[in-house]
Structures are given as C-alpha cells and as structure tokens.
C-alpha cells in the first residue's frame, strides 16, 4: 500500500497524472481578477490562465528572500547557475509571489511555476491541479525560428482582456494582442510601428520589452518600452486584429539599454512610473500629463517625459507592485538574487 505523507507529495503525486496543459516554456506572468494567473509560453505559442485558488486576502507585510536563486535551486535539486527566473508576479489578493522558472539551461530545461509565501517559503505551484484554460496565438514566429522565444515578451490585464506583447510571424512583426478573458479564440495581433528617436527611424520589427497598462484622462493606454528605451503610448482601443497601429513616442530614455520591467503608482497625490533597466538603473518617471508631450518624430538623444534615477535601487531585474505604497523587487546583488519589498519612491 502506498500512503502519501507531507505537503510535498501533494504536488508531485498530482504531477504524475497527465497535466491538462504542459508548459513548454515559462515566460511572462501577470495576475487578473480573483487570483487568476496568466502565464506566457512562447515555445508553445500559448497563454495559459490558471485559477490559483490563492484568494485568501492578506496585507502581506515586509518580505525579504535572500538568495532566492539558491533556494529555488535547492528545492529543484540543482545548482543556482542552472536556474533561470523569467518573471515574478505578486498575487494582489494573497500577496504570495509567483515565479516562472526554468530548471536547467540546455534544451532539456524544465519550465515550472513556483510560489513563495510572505514568509519566504518556496513551493511548487502545481499546474496540473489548477483549473486552467488556454489560448493559442495564431500568428507567432515559426517554431524553431530564432525569434520564437520572443513570441511573448510581456503580459498585462486591462479591462477584461489579456494584452500580449511580442513578435508575430508577419512582416510587421512587433505585435500587441488583446485577448478577452475568459478565452474564446485568439485573434491576430495588431502590428505596432513606432518612431525610435535614438535610431532616427521608424521601427516595426522590434518587440515591446515591457509595458504597463495606464489610464490617461479616463482612456486606457499601454505604455510600452523598447530596447534602447523609447517609451511609447498606444491606445488599447486601437488594438484590433490585423490593425497596423502607430504608437506615439513620448520619451527617449537612453541608448544601450534594455528596459526590464515597469510599474505605475500614485504617491502624495501624484502619478509615477517606475522602470527597471539593464544599464540605466531604476527610473522614476513623472506620470502626469502623458498626453501632453509632443510626439518624437526626429532623431534625438534623451527627450520627453522627465525622470530621476532612484540611486537606492541597484541591480533590479524584476519589479511588481506589492500594495499601494510598496513595490517588490528582484535584484542581482553580487550574484545573489534577492527579493524584497521596497517603499515606492
């Protein structure tokens, strides 16, 4: 007779049954309403919605997980250099933290979603036991092509729709797809063209690296950032299947830089956007009057929305909003990846 002990078995035992959807890769994460977790799987060309049932409200509190890469590696029975963390998302209800992770770095890498509670205890989020639905994207770059892993570069949830940034298989490759949830069928994305001031040209093939849903005068927008850091405003209402949309470039934030993550928040009655970058630190941008900046349409260096660099935040790779006054960061500090809550600056 086989008897099951311990909470650890719960996840593993269930995984023996064929999961409803098998992740081929674990990429961007975002939360929708009622604890629904959306995960982007570029390799499978699919967005999966998991009902986490992780809906017990919590205020959270101060979180600090030092060496989260080492802890995840130990849980998965390997070394920290064999773990890649693709994204981190806070469940806005429970304040538990979800990570999309690859165990291994070769072609046999296993994609997983892990969860840390506010005390820093890390466990597997058992995909197979979660109620789920998925939608396949119709126009992703060819399987096996070098751009396939950029099919989905970021996810957001806006007004009942999952917004998916990435590349399509079209000539006009930079794509924003808007998919109503609950899922029915995925339509084609809208192709996005922007004027990139630092490059002095229009671009249609570079994918959005990170975006944040943002309301300007009661209208829903996507604020999207690209490599070499143009910041672009795109009305959500323009994201119609097959449409070719011109984004409005409202800032150039500097060359030789990749934007990594963005959040929007309010403090002392003012709106701000916090953006983590590969080589230009964490920027705090003024979030008001974003409809008032003259569109950038000529070659330029830094221009547009003003910002300050937050000197206290170093090595930030992932950002998410924790509560009204706190953010959650994943920072690389001398090779150790540390997760902690920060007071929003």
């Amino acid at each position: 007779m086989v008897k099951v002990f311990s909470s650890l078995c719960f996840t593993a035992a269930l995984a023996l049954a064929a999961p409803a959807v098998e992740l081929k890769s674990a990429g961007p994460l975002t939360f929708g309403p009622n604890g629904t977790l959306f995960a982007g799987d570029s390799a499978a060309g699919r967005i999966i919605a998991f009902e986490t049932n992780d809906t017990k409200p919590s205020k959270g509190g101060t979180v600090e997980i030092k060496g989260v890469n080492t802890k995840i590696a130990a849980l998965l029975g390997t070394t920290a250099d064999q773990i890649l963390i693709a994204d981190m998302a806070v469940n806005p209800i429970s304040k538990n933290i979800y990570f999309s992770v690859a165990r291994g770095r070769g072609p046999e890498a296993v994609p997983m979603i892990l969860r840390a509670d506010t005390a820093g205890n890390i466990s597997e989020f058992a995909l197979a036991s979660a109620k789920q639905s998925s939608v396949s994207l119709t126009d992703v770059p060819a399987e096996g092509g070098r751009q396939r892993m950029e099919a989905i570069t970021d996810l957001g949830f806006v007004e009942g729709k999952v917004v998916v940034a990435g590349l399509s298989d079209e000539d006009f490759a930079s794509s924003l797809r808007s998919i109503p949830y609950p899922f029915e069928a995925a339509a084609k994305g809208a192709g996005i063209e922007i004027f990139h001031g630092a490059h002095g040209r229009f671009e249609t093939n570079a994918p959005v690296r990170t975006f944040v849903p943002y309301t300007i005068k009661d209208k829903a927008y996507i604020l999207a950032a690209y490599t070499c850091t143009p910041l672009v405003r795109i009305p959500v209402s323009d994201l119609k299947p097959g449409a070719k949309v011109k984004g409005t470039t409202i800032a150039e934030l500097g060359n030789r830089n990749r934007p990594l993550d963005m959040i929007a928040y309010e403090k002392d009655g003012h709106a701000y956007i916090l953006m983590a970058n590969s080589s230009r630190g964490v920027m705090k941008l003024k979030g008001e009057g974003l409809d008032g900046y003259a569109p950038i349409t000529a070659q330029t260096e830094k221009q547009g929305v003003p910002y300050e660099t937050v000197e206290t935040l170093k090595g930030v790779q992932q950002l998410d909003k924790y509560d009204a006054t706190h953010g959650l960061t994943l920072s690389d500090e001398a090779g150790s990846l540390n997760v902690r809550t920060i007071s929003l600056p």
């Binding site: 086989v2 650890l8 080492t70 029975g77 890498a109 597997e124 070098r146 950029e150 630092a198």
Partner: protein, 335 residues
C-alpha cells in the same frame, strides 16, 4: 513481545540510522521508521528548503522519490544524522566546439546585421552575453556592439546562437549616429571572440575558444534580385548539383531554409555563402523546373528580396514585390 514493540515505537531516541539511496539515485529510503517520522534530502547548503519530491510508505519503508534526479552531491537528514551522497555523475568533460561562425567570409559590410555561432553540441542558455566579445585591431573591446536580448536567440536544439548587432550602432543611410557611433567602421579589422568558458548542456566548458577576424567593407544597401543570379543547370539523368551564384553572401540560415527546389534533395552553401548548391535525391528529369524563393530571404545586412533594409513599411514606396515567394524557372536539358 507486544510490550517490546510498543517500547520500540515509543522510544523517543531511536538508534542512529542512515538514509539509503538506490544505485540509480532515483529512490531514497529509511527502514522501519516510527509513525510520523520523516527525513529530508537537501541539495544545497545553508538556509535552503529540502528537495521537491514525493514521500510514500512502502513495505515498512519510508520512501522519497525526488522530482528531479539529483546528480550533484546531496545530503539527507534523519534523526539528526546526516548522510552524504556523492555526485552521481563524473565531472563533465569538454567535448563541444564552435564548428563555424557565419558569415564565413572575412570581408563583411559595415551594416552587417548578425552573426550565427554554430556549435557541435547543445549549449546552455543564459550566459551568451558574457562569453562574446568584439575586439578592435588593438585588442580593445568594442563596447556593447550587440543587442543583448534576455531570451537569447537559439535554435530549438541550443546549437546555433544568433548575435544581432545593436540597431542603434549599425550605420544606415546618411543619418549620423549620435552618442556612441557605429560598432563597425569601413576599412578596420575586428575579431569576434567566443570564450572557451561557455558551457555546453552537460555543464562542461568548450574544448576551445574561437576567433573570427574580419575586415569591414562598404555598406550593402541593394535589395536582393534573384533575377540577376547566375544559374548552372545539370543534365537530365544525373544527380549533379544545380548551382546558383548570388553575387554576394546571403544569410546562411535563411538561404538554406527559404530557397527550395521543386524536387526533393539536399541544399548546401559554398564559397562564403555566395553559392547555393542543390543535389537532388533522384536524378534530374528533363523539362521545366522551378526554384521558389521566399521574399523574406536576407543578405548579411538584412536587405530582402526586392526591398532594401532601411524602408519605412508604413510608406512602402520602394517595395515592389507583394507576393510571398519569387519563382525562378530553370530548364533541365536531356542528355
């Protein structure tokens, strides 16, 4: 007898017992634990959680099956006693090499778009940008010449890595490049260096590093014109190759995938990716044949069929071809 058993079960300090491991490393167990007793397996040191896996009671044993095979050294703790298990695998031996860097030619246009690094085996993700350098002739590195994409551009087997130049550092048109200037300058010599420390899928570093030295020539801004290609057709009844001279090097990966003949066979690139050769599976049959060329074929600077790279596709004034493929007919003569 019954009393003795009860005593054994209730005794709080039980005799020390080691955790055992099967030879294949898939199962860990202890014999006859007391009810509720557990052991834990750890793969790391310090404040880390135990390894993920499933416990079960099987024929009086407490059995643990880790979710993943634990190939490195691990320790198990039962009744306060630590059992250490050695690594299951020998240290990985270097065997993987860089087979080639494409383009293979040593004169490259200043608006070069990308390199492909082709490995003999599967590689690890996540360290590419720390293992590549572009050196100037004096040995000093060019600062950030490439677009360092987090996702890394690999083929599905992790054997071919695509390096894209930072689009902000590719000289285009007459526009001046601000701030940092172009990565490549006409007439200068550069060396692309692949560091030997780059690890393959087994965790071993490369057997050797790789260096590709090249000189930069004028920018290439002409679209690809298949109608200008020189074709040499074989005779019917032979399996001699059909050869197509492009007149300039093309993107190797795209040329092999996007140029197809109307019969089955094997294509290869020669002469620094300037020539495409195709050997049919069956001997050529006399008559009309066709080559299909997907218009997304690119040269080294990203110029496509009928369309140069620097085009605003919102106002596609220079775009001539609207179809998906261009057909090049050819005739195989009978002997």
């Amino acid at each position: 007898m019954r009393t003795l058993l009860l005593l054994l079960v209730l005794t709080p300090v039980l005799h020390a017992q080691a955790v055992l491991r099967s030879a294949d490393g898939k199962v860990y167990w202890v014999e006859k634990p007391a009810p509720g007793e557990m052991f834990q397996v750890y793969a790391g040191e310090g404040d880390v959680p135990p390894v993920l896996g499933a416990f079960s009671a099987e024929n009086g044993r407490l059995v643990f099956r880790p979710r993943f095979l634990l190939a490195d050294e691990v320790r198990a703790i039962f009744r306060g006693v630590v059992t250490r298990f050695p690594a299951l695998r020998a240290a990985a031996v270097s065997s993987t090499v860089v087979e080639a860097v494409y383009p293979t030619v040593d004169r490259l246009p200043e608006n070069l778009l990308k390199f492909y690094v082709s490995f003999s085996g599967s590689m690890q993700r996540g360290e590419g940008w720390t293992r590549l350098q572009l050196l100037q002739a004096d040995g000093k590195p060019v600062e950030l010449p490439f677009l360092e994409i987090d996702q890394e551009l690999w083929d599905p087997g992790n054997r071919r890595f695509t390096i894209l130049f930072d689009p902000g550092r590719i000289k285009r048109g007459v526009l001046p490049l601000s701030e940092v200037g172009p990565a490549l300058v006409v007439g200068r010599t550069y060396t692309l260096v692949v560091d030997a420390g780059w690890r393959d899928a087994a965790g071993a570093p490369l057997r050797a590093g790789y260096r590709k030295t090249f000189t930069v020539s004028e920018a290439e801004r002409r679209p690809i014109e298949p109608s200008a290609w020189q074709m040499v057709t074989p005779r019917a009844g032979t399996r001699d190759p059909l050869t197509v001279e492009f007149g300039r090097p093309l993107d190797s990966a795209l040329a092999l995938r996007l140029i197809t003949a109307d019969v089955a066979g094997q294509a290869r690139l020669r002469d620094g990716e300037r020539r495409w050769e195709f050997v049919p599976k069956e001997p050529w049959t006399a008559g009309e044949h066709r080559l299909n060329i997907d218009v997304t074929l690119e040269d080294l600077a990203g110029n496509r069929v009928g369309r140069p790279f620097d085009v605003d596709v919102f106002n596609p004034v220079t775009r001539k071809i609207t179809g998906e493929t261009v057909v090049l007919p050819f005739r195989i003569e009978s002997r």
